[in-house]
Symmetry: C2
Subunit: 140 residues, 2 copies
């Protein structure tokens, strides 16, 4: 194929969280995750202009501690559930371990956005941020 | 900071669409986009096991024709709207041009998933696929 074989992402921010280890992280933000700080990288800071406190956003992370060589998992690490293709699950282990986190913006102070709840651990790179769309059919 | 400065993604598939040019693509799938084929790369094909026809999935694309040096845009390319940080918009132009497309799986044939509607153009690399979560509060 003529398409590019590899694309490179540069983090636009990092998560600062009280969650320090993957083993401590809940599987989804709604399952008891804490709030955290999204610290923007200085040179892309102006990309957050017009993000508002109270708004919902989708934080796209790079799950840097995930395994990339896994194509099948037991969902929720439950061996009673059948081995399932990673693309049919939300497992962090997958060829390109991107995380999608729908969170609310709780505070904004300069380069720092307080957001939550979010299950990403401390130090997780953030690669993109998007608004949640208003119309219900686009509401991912 | 000690975190990684760059991360690399390898496409897990490519979009095959009747949309050939960015100028022809609607801004969102719900705005008249066609159905398309998601052709998986052979060595990751088993990652799609248990994806079912009729299910909704989130296709994460690499918007390979987007500009990466843009931090502010007029939303929907409407110059009457104020210049807005790209992270507060769904503009494809952004430092890491990832696209999120919530689509329905219409057919599965081997390595090919027919999905839609989707506004990504022909040849767009797919970097991840995730199920839409069942609980409404996680329904991105």
């Amino acid at each position: 194929m003529s398409e590019p074989a590899i694309v490179s992402l540069t983090p636009v921010g990092f998560i600062r969280s009280s969650l320090k280890h993957r083993a401590d992280a809940p599987r989804q933000g709604s399952e008891g995750a804490p709030d955290a700080v999204l610290q923007m990288v200085p040179n892309v800071e102006e990309g957050t202009d017009w993000i508002m406190v109270g708004q919902e956003i989708i934080v796209v992370t790079w799950l840097h501690q995930a395994r990339r060589d896994v194509l099948k998992v037991h969902p929720r690490n439950d061996e009673n559930l059948p081995l399932t293709g990673v693309f049919a699950t939300r497992s962090p282990d997958r060829p390109n371990p991107l995380g999608l986190h729908r969170v609310r913006v709780l505070d904004i102070a300069g380069k720092q956005l307080k957001v939550g709840p979010i299950e990403a651990i401390d130090g997780t790179p953030v690669v993109d941020i998007k608004p949640v769309l208003q119309s219900s059919e686009d509401s991912y």
